[in-house]
């Protein structure tokens, strides 16, 4: 910024002037609420049933770790994230991107349009579509009946897998787009050279393509994971976290505690812990990204 040393301190201070409104707004609307949230997590604030709130230190966090339902929610969140983001969206996105490179233009256009449609649908619309697909009298069971395969009540017997599948269906397009761009960057002559040297498809993928798009893989994993960790509407509309608490991931658990049980303080503490889970994932991915080819 500074072009010459004749800049006096006063002039440098001047540069802050245009930034003031933005800084103020950020402080007010971003830092303020975040700070307030952190504060609330250390109090016993309630939505109803108590007039005041008091500072209770780490009580909410102690309570969370002793709470069987919280542990269940952490476990389900990990299952949901690993199954739907890391395995589902990521692998399927890469596979689709790879297949589309080899496909003819009309096939490519059609597939792309279908996958992206699922992505641009509002979350709640997608949730109801998938609810209608999985419910007992839904499309999936109708198809299974028609094929004379045993049908079952998916949302009741395998709720966490049903919502995981829903999230894969909805979020794959994003990975597919990133991977399509990444694969387009892989130079043709390198893969062709490997082919001439007699490397098969699997070996080419493993030793050439994947290392070359490693950075994109890291980025995709990170973004997928963070967006999947915070999925609420999809699960809420499909199962409400039930039956029992068999699909109650952390965001749903948080809502249940804060707004259904009125324990705003405890719910906010859980939200902070969710933030922690997200950061852990991010740190792991950043570490993975640092490795040079």
């Amino acid at each position: 910024m500074s072009r010459d040393s004749r800049d006096s301190r006063g002039a440098r201070a001047w540069r802050w002037v245009p930034l003031t409104p933005a800084t103020l707004l950020l402080l007010l609307f971003l830092a303020g609420p975040i700070g307030y949230c952190v504060w609330i997590a250390f109090t016993d604030t309630q939505l109803t049933g108590a007039s005041g709130s008091h500072f209770v230190g780490l009580d909410n966090f102690r309570r969370a770790f002793a709470d069987e339902d919280f542990r269940n929610a952490v476990w389900l969140t990990l299952v949901f994230t690993v199954v739907s983001a890391v395995l589902g969206q990521n692998t399927l996105g890469l596979a689709l991107a790879g297949l589309m490179r080899a496909a003819s233009r009309p096939v490519r256009t059609l597939t792309g349009a279908l996958v992206i449609t699922a992505w641009v649908l509002p979350e709640i619309v997608a949730a109801f579509l998938l609810y209608a697909f999985f419910r007992r009298e839904g499309t999936l069971n109708a198809v299974l009946d028609w094929l004379h395969l045993p049908s079952q009540n998916w949302l009741f017997t395998l709720p966490i897998l049903a919502v995981s599948f829903a999230n894969v269906w909805r979020g794959t397009a994003f990975s597919m787009l990133i991977y399509s761009a990444a694969l387009a960057e892989v130079p043709r002559d390198v893969t062709e050279a490997a082919e001439v040297d007699g490397a098969g498809g699997v070996r080419r993928l493993r030793y050439i393509t994947l290392p070359m798009i490693r950075r994109s893989i890291g980025t995709t994993l990170m973004l997928n994971t963070l967006s999947t960790l915070s999925v609420f509407g999809l699960i809420w509309a499909m199962t409400r976290g039930g039956p029992g608490n068999r699909s109650q991931t952390l965001p749903v658990f948080m809502y249940d505690q804060a707004f259904l049980k009125s324990l705003i303080g405890y719910g906010t503490a859980v939200a902070l812990l969710l933030l922690l889970v997200g950061s852990l994932f991010s740190v792991v991915y950043l570490r993975l990204l640092k490795v040079e080819v």
Binding site: G10, W16, V17, P21, L24, T48, S262
Partner: protein
Amino acid sequence: MRPNAPPTLAPPVLALALGLVLTACGGGSGAGDTNTVEVVYNRSTDNNIRFKDAFLESVKKEFEKAHPGKTVKLIPVQAPDNDYATKAQQMMRSPKTAPDLVYEDTFRINSDIKAGYLKPLDDYLAKWDAWDQFVDTARAAAKAEDGKTYGVPDGTDTRGLWYNKEIFAKAGLPADWRPRNWNEVLDAARTVKREVPGVIPLNVYTGKGPGEAAVMQGFEMLLYGTGADPLYDPAAKKWVAGGKGFQDALGFVRTVYGEKLGPDVSDALDPNVGTRVATEFFPEGKLAISLDGSWMGQNWINKGPKEWPAWEKDLAQAPMPTQHGQAPGKVSMSGGWTWAIPQKANNPDLAWEFLKTLQSRENAVRWDVVGAQIAVRKDVAADPRYLSSMPGIRFFTQLVPYTHYRPALPVYPQVSTAIGEAMEKVTTGDASPAAAAKAYDEQLRTIADGAVVEK
């Protein structure tokens, strides 16, 4: 900002920023509009059920005619009851969004009073002749621990067993069925299961989805038939933990769903099951018995969501018996809703004027008739239009002497949520009644801050 920055620009910049901030924070309700009463109420999730909306619209017209220049803004919240309450509580937190009048379930009102959301109405009530017409239990419904009254009830309800005489005839059960204890209720359901396949024998609301409907119509109708004060001990002022009645009531629910006497478990746990019972299971002859409320008939009368003229002929009611038939032999629960004025309302006086119009004798009769409510006013209860409004209204009014009210305490809604979870666990078979009761006891200690008594 550095202190040595020229001050010339700072004020306008600050002013601009503040201006932005202030405009961004706008968009609340018409704060300062003294001529509008904002009324928040819950609209049914079934798009065919609009009798409450129609009634409020007509009162709005009447009020606006009588008070030129004043308007009533009806704000319906279409959501399940739990979500409606959450939304209303959040609106009441700020004067910008607080309505002037809010419809409150009596079981939550103490919780909201304690949170400081509502205004005491004693000054208004003292000058209101009609208040003497309200029966004492109703006047106490919205009375807080501080002795002040915070809401005006518009009706109450009782609960019992509804059964389908046609299905009973097919199953060889009597048309004037009067079960004397829990076992006779279950036996009738088992008979229906055996004799009339394809029909749901017995509906008992359960689980977190239906929320308070499950806790009150389902669980408490059982629990209060097991002994005296099974949930809260008013003498000791403590909640009851480790009760045998509690386990037995869960055991009944477990039996219903374990023996497949109830609706399919995933249907039973769905938040909309109540709507389905009223508009689908009963009218289509798919359900034999339902442990349900006095208001059921409103679904099938004129302008109801599901026209079903034959219901008076097909359905009958029986009182819910106590566990072993011990005295008094019958059990019922009562609740109801009240109109209350939020502490942060902009126009409390105008809201009160509207409330008086809402609760004029004429409108009270009309509401109890269209809402299939049990009257809480002596003058309404004696009105021939009310008494002839609905088959079964006499039956349900006769249950009033046997009825119980929920413990009207601030933490009750949390207790209710804990009960709903215990019910859901035994319904899905995830836990035995004993284990679910134990988990409830642990939650109860947290909720009641250890103020529990073992029974």
